[in-house]
């Protein structure tokens, strides 16, 4: 009963976002292309180096890359088109007239915004990366299924990554109250999230000093950490630590988001009188 409004908006948004099939199909092709290109680059690097002791094996890299491509839509980029339209037209006034916690409502929207497109893309991507690649004669490039223990660990940290990504998404959406169009914030957040989360270059391949810095940032929690739990780079003994990092950052970002939203509402000028 308490959560009824949030569940309702989450499910409505989720169902609505499932309609975007054409975008998902286009996304799947792009991600397959990117995944193959990235793996080829790393294979070329690994083949031409004399260093024997690499931070990750080629199998681990392939898994890391494919997980990143399959879960790309879970990354906190893009603002909620509905919230953007509401702020622009002034219909956000209605949103402020609802007898529900506005942050909670927008977080629920964020969850839908991150899960629906991910579900649409992740399933065909996984099928391709796990089963189709070996059939195409490229078994060494496939997404290796995890060990049972790593699988359970991955499932846990994936949930942690999702709530963290949703807290970031909600923060982006709240920023629309100031910037209205949100294009700048979206661009910055996209770059930050994709680079610092390991989506472009796996974080273990960064130099030591950079890894120390990245360890202090929230972005590793949305991609790098769960991926490394999956491929065994992070031992299961450290699972608690990973979850603590994810949830700690989620908490910080939720508190920050709530503060910003409260301030945004105080200074709100509803567009169009």
């Amino acid at each position: 009963m308490m959560l009824r409004p949030y569940r309702a908006i989450l499910s409505a948004r989720f169902r609505m976002l499932l309609q975007y099939r054409a975008a998902a199909i286009a996304g799947v092709w792009t991600q397959i292309f990117f995944g193959l290109a990235l793996i080829m680059i790393y294979e070329a690097f690994y083949a031409s180096t004399t260093v024997a002791d690499q931070p990750m094996t080629m199998v681990q890299i392939a898994s890391y890359v494919w997980l990143g491509q399959a879960l790309l839509a879970m990354m906190p980029w893009g603002a909620d088109s509905e919230i953007r339209a509401m702020v622009r037209s002034g219909a956000v006034a209605y949103e402020l007239c609802r007898p529900v916690d506005l942050y909670g409502l927008w977080f629920a929207r964020g969850v839908a915004q991150r899960t629906a497109p991910t579900v649409l893309r992740a399933v065909p991507m996984t099928i391709f990366a796990v089963w189709a690649l070996p059939l195409l004669g490229l078994p060494e490039w496939r997404l290796e299924p995890p060990t049972a223990a790593a699988g359970v660990g991955f499932a846990c940290t994936l949930v942690g990554a999702l709530v963290l990504a949703c807290a970031m998404t909600t923060l982006i959406n709240i920023s629309l109250l100031w910037t209205i169009s949100g294009e700048g914030i979206v661009m910055i957040s996209t770059t930050l999230a994709s680079f610092f989360s390991g989506m472009i270059v796996p974080l273990p391949l960064f130099p030591e000093w950079a890894q120390t810095v990245l360890g202090w940032l929230p972005f590793a929690g949305i991609a790098d950490l769960p991926f490394r739990v999956y491929n065994g780079d992070i031992p299961l003994a450290d699972l608690g630590l990973v979850l603590a990092r994810q949830l700690g950052w989620t908490l910080v970002l939720v508190v920050l988001g709530r503060r910003l939203l409260a301030r945004g509402m105080r200074h709100l000028v509803v567009q169009g009188g």
Binding site: M1, R4, P5, R7, A8, I9, A12, M16, Q19, S89, G90, A91, A93, Y94, L96, C97, R98, P99, V100, D101, M265, R266, L268, V269, V270, G272, G273
Partner: protein, 330 residues
């Protein structure tokens, strides 16, 4: 009677960034912005009792929407007191808005891509309305607003009049005792306007819902409102019945005469011609200087006429004069 809405000395100012014209102005604007302070509400006071239907009128930018948004808990005023059913809207926002229905006529609260009924169900969940009560209220609204055929249509396919009827229903699914309607008839055709007006009247008379109605449509005011508040420049200029408002601004009445064929109008003392189109002449007169009966007697004694009638100046004229008297832009 207990006042349901109490507003005392409410003030709200906005900082508006000013843009200088031209390229040079835009470049200077990067380095230094100038702001202009707009006093949207400049010490507004009123109180509204349960079951009242109050019209709230004023030109664009007068502070109407700012008042409504403050009462709805969306905007926080700079100073002053405001209580709705004993609550301060922006401080006890959740409890306050649960008892409030709002319609902003220029915007919809329905989900654009969803069929109407799905929007209703979402609102049911957001307002936590129990299922049996929801079904009862929804069916009543469907019957009164004639929505039966619209329920399965996606909102984007509705005409403006249909959408407005659905929006009214959406605002009332949780059976709020107070409703704010911000320009609910804007852009509607004549038939839709009548339907909306009729519905608002019933809502107020039969269900005892307190209604605050902002509008630019004076017919809305004349057919619906027992009380009219006029706002201009962030101040309440007039608050009372329509008759009070007329009496305050002018005693003037209008006499319209249709002359018989071939008759030409010359002149008439104690009355001024304000309009003459063909054989139709419209006179303005002060009933305390010349009684209507006397004026009609004089006119009919002097001219052959086909028809005549006496009326009050339209409310638009009254309001325009009120603003002129307060030297405000219309």
């Amino acid at each position: 009677m207990v006042a349901q809405i109490v507003v005392e000395n409410l003030c709200k100012a906005f900082q508006v960034a000013e843009r200088r014209p031209g390229m040079w102005g835009a470049i200077r604007g990067i380095a230094r912005r100038t702001y202009r302070t707009v006093r949207a509400l400049d010490g507004i006071s009123f109180s509204i009792d349960a079951g009242e239907l109050v019209g709230y009128i004023g030109p664009n930018g007068a502070g109407k929407s700012t008042t409504v948004k403050t009462l709805a808990g969306i905007l926080v005023p700079d100073s002053g007191r405001c209580e709705v059913r004993g609550r301060v809207p922006w401080k006890q926002r959740l409890a306050h808005v649960a008892e409030l229905g709002v319609v902003f006529g220029q915007r919809t609260q329905l989900w654009w891509d969803l069929p109407v009924v799905e929007s209703f169900e979402l609102l049911r969940d957001i307002y936590r309305v129990p299922e049996d009560r929801y079904v009862r209220t929804r069916d009543e609204l469907i019957a009164v607003l004639d929505l039966g055929a619209l329920l399965d249509v996606p909102v984007r396919q509705l005409s403006l009049g249909q959408r407005m009827r659905c929006d009214l229903a959406a605002a009332l699914l949780h059976a709020p005792p107070i409703v704010f309607l911000d320009e609910p008839t804007i852009g509607l055709d004549a038939i839709s306007k009548l339907a909306v007006r009729d519905f608002i009247k019933r809502l107020n008379r039969e269900n005892g819902v307190t209604v605050v109605l902002t509008t630019h449509d004076m017919d809305d005011i004349e057919t619906l409102c027992t009380r009219v508040m006029v706002i201009g420049g962030g101040k309440i200029l007039s608050d009372g019945t329509l008759a009070d408002l007329r009496a305050r601004v002018t005693r003037e009445r209008w006499l319209t005469i249709d002359l018989a064929d071939g008759v030409t109008w010359t002149d008439e003392v104690d009355a001024t011609v304000i309009r003459q189109e063909g054989s139709r002449v419209c006179l303005a007169f002060d009933p305390q200087v010349v009684a209507p009966a006397e004026l009609i007697r004089r006119v009919t004694a002097r001219y052959a006429i086909r028809d005549l009638f006496v009326e009050n100046p339209p409310i638009e004229t009254i309001i325009a004069r009120l603003y002129a008297a307060e030297s405000l832009p219309p």
